[in-house]
């Protein structure tokens, strides 16, 4: 006898969510290692630093796979909310990013902005758009 649809969906979503959480923690840990590790082992071991950066990239690919699985496990509305938020975040990243490039090339930007500001901005925009989406379909 097949499992009820709700049980199948719930198990799949729970498994995908758990996987995403695990890969997110792993990616965050490798990112911290790559960022702050050189402060501990210094410039004497550049190979170690390279290994940490490569490890972060490899785990990042795993995170991307986990995120796509998470997206597929969501129900229709939840997937729409996340996809809408992703679209807005991507658009904001493109518009603000290229806007900054143009403004900087024209000498209009008086301060130097860290490159990390762009993914940080996209993350904040995604979170805001996600929350707004959840409220909209409440």
């Amino acid at each position: 006898m097949d499992a009820p649809q709700d049980a199948v969906s719930y198990r799949a979503e729970t498994r995908a969510t758990g996987g995403l959480v695990a890969w997110t923690l792993a990616w965050t840990a490798t990112l911290a290692l790559a960022r702050f590790g050189p402060g501990f082992w210094g410039d004497l071991h550049p190979v170690v630093t390279w290994a940490a950066v490569v490890a972060n990239l490899v785990v990042g690919v795993g995170w991307i796979v986990a995120f796509t699985r998470f997206l597929r496990a969501l129900d229709d509305l939840q997937r729409k909310i996340v996809q809408d938020a992703l679209a807005i975040a991507l658009g904001a990243g493109w518009v603000v990013g290229f806007g900054y490039v143009v403004a900087d090339a024209a000498g209009l930007v008086p301060v130097e902005v860290e490159v990390a500001a762009l993914p940080a901005l996209m993350g904040v925009v995604f979170l805001a758009a996600f929350v707004i989406g959840k409220i909209r379909y409440r």
């Binding site: 009820p4 649809q5 709700d6 199948v8 969906s9 729409k80």
Partner: protein
């Protein structure tokens, strides 16, 4: 769909659990904010023992 649900004394959570979606999805479908996918529409039709076109109206 809200009328069909009420006639069976089911809550939105009951329908959501039987169909395998979130309660928020059922609420969004009932309030017209969201159109279900075909698999979900079929599951709803099986749940209410009706055809899809007896539950959902094409407003175009």
């Amino acid at each position: 769909m809200a009328d069909l649900r009420s006639a069976r004394a089911w809550t939105q959570a009951d329908v959501a659990q039987r169909v395998g979606v979130s309660r928020q999805t059922i609420n969004a479908i009932e309030t017209g904010k969201f159109d279900p996918s075909l698999p979900v529409a079929f599951r709803l039709a099986r749940l209410f023992e009706l055809r899809i076109d007896e539950i959902f109206i094409d407003e175009q």
